[in-house]
Symmetry: C2
């Protein structure tokens, strides 16, 4: 499996293929064509073939892709072929909702810790996992060799925690705090900013209203 520094645009589509393959395999479908994948994803068949071809030749010409084989390849490419640990930092409403969601809906990822500073939530259980004091974070990260962390704490408190995470060996962060995090080059940050997502949608509502007037 030649692992290169693949474009982010491709990487983001792989989990979508993975989810569809999971569903197909559950229904005992053995073979899928790029055309069918296209109708399920909304991406063009050409793009799907090109995405997969970036990592190797996984299909059979004239037939399509074997679902189990392709899923296996995708899991290896993404890096989900072994148990993967993550921690949730910040156990307010948003943090516990995410933690619960991942614990329940993500077959390939395991939450090994949830943390907070507030005595109001520390000790509470989320799907069987006990929320711990944030002082326990470095120990848990090191014990489980956690490489990916989810951040749902206020912007003002984010940077010191991020520094701590990086020092403990975390290399990827899913950041829900609406602030720019400073990290070394080898650490990847994905920002999910609910305000951006929601506000930017309003652009299209105004546009629609104006279109009505034309």
């Amino acid at each position: 499996m030649p692992r290169r520094n693949a474009p982010f645009s491709i990487i983001r589509r792989l989990p979508i293929y993975l989810r569809i393959l999971d569903n197909l395999i559950k229904k005992d479908v053995d073979i899928i064509s790029s055309r069918t994948l296209s109708s399920r994803t909304g991406f063009t068949a050409e793009q799907i073939r090109k995405d997969l071809a970036y990592f190797g030749a996984f299909g059979t010409r004239g037939t399509g892709y074997n679902t189990v084989y392709l899923r296996d390849k995708l899991l290896k490419i993404i890096g989900l072929d072994k148990t993967n640990h993550t921690v949730v930092i910040g156990s307010g409403h948003l943090g516990t909702a995410f933690g619960r969601y991942i614990l329940m809906k993500n077959p390939y990822i395991r939450v090994v810790g949830m943390f907070d500073v507030s005595n109001e939530v520390i000790g509470k259980k989320v799907e069987g996992l006990t929320i711990e004091h944030i002082d326990r974070l470095p120990a848990v990260v090191e014990e489980y060799k956690v490489k990916v962390a989810i951040l749902t704490i206020p912007s003002a408190k984010a940077q010191p925690i991020v520094n701590q995470l990086v020092n403990s060996g975390v290399t990827a962060i899913l950041n829900f705090a609406p602030t720019k995090l400073n990290v070394p080059e080898h650490v990847h940050v994905h920002n999910i900013d609910l305000t951006i997502e929601l506000q930017s949608l309003f652009y299209y509502t105004v546009f629609e209203e104006e279109k009505d007037l034309i």
Copy 2:
């Protein structure tokens, strides 16, 4: 204000500028340069100037941008210059967390309804707003002329609700259900897929491990 069908890549950056301007104005800063905005956002100064120039000439050469004036322009461009209503459909853990977040943290957006089908949550209050039965959705959407809806319901139940929303006049949907929604061309859908965001991060952790071996 010439409103065109601006590239989505630009539209998504506008709320970030808006947030920074809000903070600057709070601190009584009158003028900001593209260079300073660059260091705050991580985007290049050239890109920021080009983004803004797409909608008009809002700055002063040799000086920079007036914060209050630019914020005013941005609010008009995005379409946040009037009260903007939204509804949250699906009031499970994720839905109530989002609803609460928007109610508390979004100065320009007002949640006018939260809905669910489960008697366990209907009647509960979230930051003063009572969760209603989903049967009330069309009435609320029409009463408040809601154009933007937030969807946090299971994938299997999403499409019928989306059809209902579109019929009631909604033109933009923030979708957290991990499924492709079918909508008419004039309706915009933003998908936020926590699984994609999280799984795709694991690609970079494997990459890092391999780099260690080189």
